[in-house]
């Protein structure tokens, strides 16, 4: 269980590095899209988690 | 043989495989669509039938899109010319093809029986008509279609669409294609449904298979009397892909059987196909739907192969200007384009096959009417 997970992570890392080196050089906007999309997804997710935290601290009905 | 010739030949083979995949997989979904109103007597049964192909129809339809894309990339001149030559028919085909995805998504989202009955008709039309056109297009191409090019490569049409639709040989080929799709769809329903759908699907599939056998044999006799096309001079396999000039082509009665008389061993292909169409229904009757499904796939493979052998190297002969007939050699892409597509296909086709099989594996098992009616995610 541990080994395949680690191998998978290592493989993903290698692919990501190769992608970053090659695409970042040849197509900076493509690279920006990948980074930007990940960032957008994470920030909007963080916003939702923040709301859960706000609700736990101050359990008012108002949204 | 030079490498360009090998590339051209290889892509013609891929084209053939795509046509086979289309017949088998899309044909199966279309067959289920055609049979929907007949194997399902009430709403629950019809939804069961739909959900049997529910998780996969979209992926299968992509074969159809991919087929179009592959023709465009590997044989741009063939794509540009054939789609325009059959304009009205292609537009009708398109209309029925685009009805299907919408019918799948929308049919079961509203409770009204009128709404659902209308979409069931949409399934019938969008299942049977495209399969008919698929077969009829093969029929028309074998007879030759009317077009020519100007010196710039602009294409001009010389024949009206009515002569493509009201063409007895094309109608025969179209009906055969519908019959094969009914067989394939019926076999799929038998694989994954229980009674009463199982028994009904069996009856229709058996008749579909035998009808296809009769039409296939009849078509063979017809072709032996029809005029085919033969390269007289030029048109070498390594030629620059220029459809405007560079070959001389003649119409010869029985010309499509030339390869078979030169190499009698090739007869094994059409005869094998005929055998599949006769034996397949017997296997279904013996309640072996999985084996029956594969035999149905065999019928499609043999049928497309037969057409390919008969016409080689022609893809779409011109009846009005035979010298500008499209062949594998003069309508293909550049060596660079074909190589490029080859490398990409070698990477992506195995990936596609592995995730498609995984998808089938995840969604395996019988589909039951009771589960469907209670599941809000189902079609």
């Amino acid at each position: 269980m541990r080994l395949p997970t680690l191998l998978g992570l290592a493989l993903t890392l290698v692919v990501a590095l190769l992608f970053a080196v090659f695409v970042g050089d040849q197509g900076p906007w493509y690279f920006a899209w990948v980074i930007g999309t990940v960032m957008i997804v994470l920030i909007s997710g963080a916003g939702a988690v923040l709301m859960d935290a706000q609700n736990e601290q101050n359990p008012s009905e108002e949204v | 043989m030079d490498s360009y010739t090998i590339l051209k030949f290889f892509w013609a083979a891929i084209l053939g495989i795509l046509f086979m995949g289309l017949g088998i997989m899309v044909g199966m979904d279309m067959g289920v669509g055609t049979l929907l109103r007949f194997v399902g007597r009430n709403d629950g049964e019809r939804r069961t039938a739909l959900n049997i192909i529910g998780p996969h129809w979209d992926g299968n339809q992509v074969w159809f899109i991919l087929g179009g894309g592959a023709i465009f990339a590997a044989f741009p001149t063939l794509y540009a010319t054939s789609f325009s030559v059959f304009y009205v028919v292609m537009i009708l085909l398109l209309f029925s093809m685009i009805l299907r995805p919408v019918a799948f998504e929308y049919r079961s989202k509203v409770e009204s029986s009128r709404w659902r009955a209308s979409w069931d008709w949409a399934f019938l039309i969008s299942g049977a008509f495209p399969m008919f056109v698929y077969g009829a297009a093969f029929g028309n191409v074998m007879e030759g279609v009317g077009y020519h090019f100007s010196w710039t490569g602009q294409y001009y049409q010389d024949e009206s669409f009515l002569s493509y639709l009201l063409n007895p040989f094309a109608i025969l080929c179209g009906l055969m294609s519908v019959a094969l799709s009914v067989y394939q769809g019926g076999a799929m329903l038998m694989l994954r449904a229980e009674e009463p759908i199982y028994g009904r699907a069996q009856r229709y599939a058996v008749w579909g298979g035998w009808t296809a056998a009769v039409l296939f044999a009849l078509g063979g006799v017809w072709i032996s009397r029809m005029s085919g096309y033969v390269l007289v001079s030029g048109g070498a396999s390594g030629m620059a892909p220029d459809p405007i000039r560079g070959q001389h082509v003649a119409r010869v009665a029985g010309g499509w059987l030339a390869h078979f008389s030169a190499h009698p061993a090739l007869w094994i292909v059409p005869l094998g196909g005929l055998a599949c169409m006769i034996v397949g229904p017997l296997v279904l009757r013996a309640n072996r739907p999985a084996l029956g499904w594969w035999i149905g796939a065999g019928s499609w493979i043999a049928t497309i192969k037969t057409v390919g052998i008969a016409m080689f190297p022609f893809l779409m002969p011109s009846s009005t200007t035979p010298d500008q007939s499209l062949t594998i050699w003069n309508s293909c892409a550049s060596a660079y384009g074909l190589t490029c597509m080859l490398v990409l296909a070698a990477i992506f086709v195995p990936i596609i096959l592995s995730y498609t099989s995984w998808c089938y594996y995840v969604m395996r098992g019988k589909v039951r009417t009771a589960d469907i009616v209670n599941d809000t995610h189902s079609y």
Partner: protein
């Protein structure tokens, strides 16, 4: 050469424009909603709170309704290159077909296979596996857009191909140049992120509706916040990339840029005004009622204070010699096709770069044959062809402006929405909520106008500087075109009626009635990733 009828060309253009714009009503929502569903499901998997699963499923249902039409109308587009643009497809297909085929191989297959699992696999897959499937759907739909835009960019800024007189078409030279075409890069990011904006506005607007009605408050507030944050970053990105695209148009397509900005005469930097309002008159070749902001145009477009922007009148004059040279190219080419002599080929190669302008002159030549223009008529043909190099300025100018003004509006709505949502004061701002609701269709409208700017501005070419639209169409009869147009009008009207009916029905029903909570009574915690990792 048999003459081409302008009615058929116009009808073919109309049909392509209508079906493409119709297709693009559904595509941007698919591009954006898939990543939003992925974001929601990510939160579900990480926190284990069921409400995020309900969100992914409910918005997934709306996505499904929309996705079906996107797929269906996309098939039309693939058909139409062959059915209506035969000459274009033969001339450019060696290269152009490749990105379309790769789209099928790499993206569309992935998207379509996994979309089935995404809808049907909730109970059959583990949570991380289902999340991975959702990400693959999102990636697939955006890769699909990538390849289409790579293809489109090669029409606007052709790269990696050359004309071959032997085969009478553009031969494919380099896929790397085609993929990394700067226009393709900027266009892809601009379009994909515009899709994020469309999806954010839809989710935010419908959530605002629930909050206004006081329904599904916990559900709607979370959806609203995620959409608002998603939207504000995307809007900033879409504006940034719009600026990049403007620079590229300035460098590669001077006629399109001049039309977008309504520049008839070459500008005098740096005080040249950016026109916020004007009524360009194509016939008189000038603008009426100009209202401009001085000192903005030059730095905005050229990113400098000194570079001039060539005006459309000057561009027309510059085209004159290229048209005569193009006519010479085609005459030599035809002679070489018949004779095969080296001198004809040399004559062609000398004028090869202007061949497209020779094609452009065809419609003004006697019998539409540029190779047989009598010597005395050459100047007349050239002069008649010159105005043809410009697109329709009124359409290009206004389509561009509507898109730009709308994007500023989205920025305001998302910025305000994010702020109020982060403060948890949505209910105190009913006006904002109503504005969100009414703004739902606006991003889709903006993307449509974006396409009109890009494609109307590309005219009169299908392949910029190489093949005119006039010669690209299939030579059908008018009757064929009327038949297909009537068919599209009928089917597409039924589609949009059914789509809107279902969208409104499910949006009104809301998440609970749609069955999610009937099956998951406990809205609380499951074992999420966080809990699992903590053990």
């Amino acid at each position: 050469m048999e003459p081409i009828s302008s009615e058929v060309v116009d009808l073919s253009r109309l049909q392509f424009a209508v079906t493409a714009l119709y297709h693009f009503m559904f595509v941007p929502l698919t591009l954006g909603l898939t990543f939003m569903l992925a974001a929601m499901e990510t939160v579900y998997v990480v926190t284990g709170r069921k409400i995020y699963k309900d969100m992914a499923q409910f918005w997934g249902k709306l996505f499904g309704i929309n996705f079906a039409l996107g797929v269906a109308t996309g098939i039309t587009m693939e058909f139409e290159f062959g059915t209506n643009w035969s000459m274009y497809s033969r001339f450019f297909g060696d290269m152009f077909g490749t990105p379309l085929a790769i789209e099928g191989l790499m993206a569309f297959f992935m998207e379509s296979t996994f979309v089935g699992l995404m809808f049907f696999g909730w109970d059959r897959l583990s949570k991380p596996a289902h999340l991975a499937v959702t990400y693959l759907v999102a990636l697939g739909s955006n890769l699909s857009a990538l390849w289409i835009l790579v293809a489109n960019a090669s029409m606007n800024v052709p790269q990696g191909t050359h004309f071959d007189p032997e085969t009478m078409r553009m031969q494919f030279d380099s896929i790397v140049q085609v993929i990394f075409n700067p226009d393709a890069q900027a266009k892809f990011v601009h379009t994909s992120v515009a899709g994020y904006v469309c999806a954010s506005m839809l989710v935010m607007g419908i959530s605002a509706f629930y909050i206004l009605r006081g329904r599904h408050k916990a559900f709607a507030a979370r959806s609203f916040r995620m959409a608002a944050l998603f939207g504000i970053i995307s809007t900033v990105a879409v504006i940034t990339l719009g600026d990049v695209l403007g620079r590229l148009v300035y460098e590669h397509q001077p006629t399109k840029l001049a039309a977008m900005e309504g520049v008839w005469r070459t500008t005098k930097p740096p005080y040249e005004p950016w026109l916020a309002f004007a009524i360009p008159d194509d016939a008189k070749q000038e603008n009426d009622l100009e209202i401009g902001i001085p000192f903005v145009l030059t730095p905005l477009v050229t990113h400098s204070f000194t570079a001039p922007i060539t005006g459309m009148k000057e561009l027309e004059d510059q085209a004159g010699p290229r048209i005569s040279s193009g006519i010479a190219a085609l005459t030599a080419l035809k002679a070489w096709r018949a004779s095969g002599s080296a001198s004809d080929l040399a004559a062609f190669n000398a004028h090869k770069a202007d061949m497209g302008y020779g094609f452009l002159a065809a419609r003004h030549a006697p019998g539409q044959d540029v190779t047989a223009i009598p010597a005395g008529q050459l100047d007349t043909v050239v002069n008649e062809t010159k105005p043809d190099i410009l697109p329709n300025v009124f359409v290009t100018f206004w389509a561009f402006r509507i898109m730009v003004f709308l994007s500023l509006w989205f920025f305001a709505v998302f910025a305000f929405g994010s702020y109020v949502s982060l403060k948890n004061r949505l209910e105190r701002n009913p006006l904002l909520l109503k504005l969100c609701l009414w703004s739902i269709p606006l991003p889709i409208l903006a993307t449509e106008f974006g396409w009109i700017t890009a494609e109307a501005g590309r005219q009169p070419w299908t392949v910029f500087d190489l093949l005119p639209t006039y010669l690209s169409a299939s030579t059908h009869s008018v009757g064929y075109m009327l038949f297909s147009l009537a068919g599209f009008a009928l089917i597409y009207s039924i589609f949009i009626a059914a789509e809107l009916y279902l969208m409104f029905k499910f949006a009104r029903l809301g998440p609970e009635e749609h069955g999610a909570h009937a099956r998951h009574d406990d809205p609380g915690h499951e074992d999420g990733l966080v809990v699992a990792l903590g053990e």
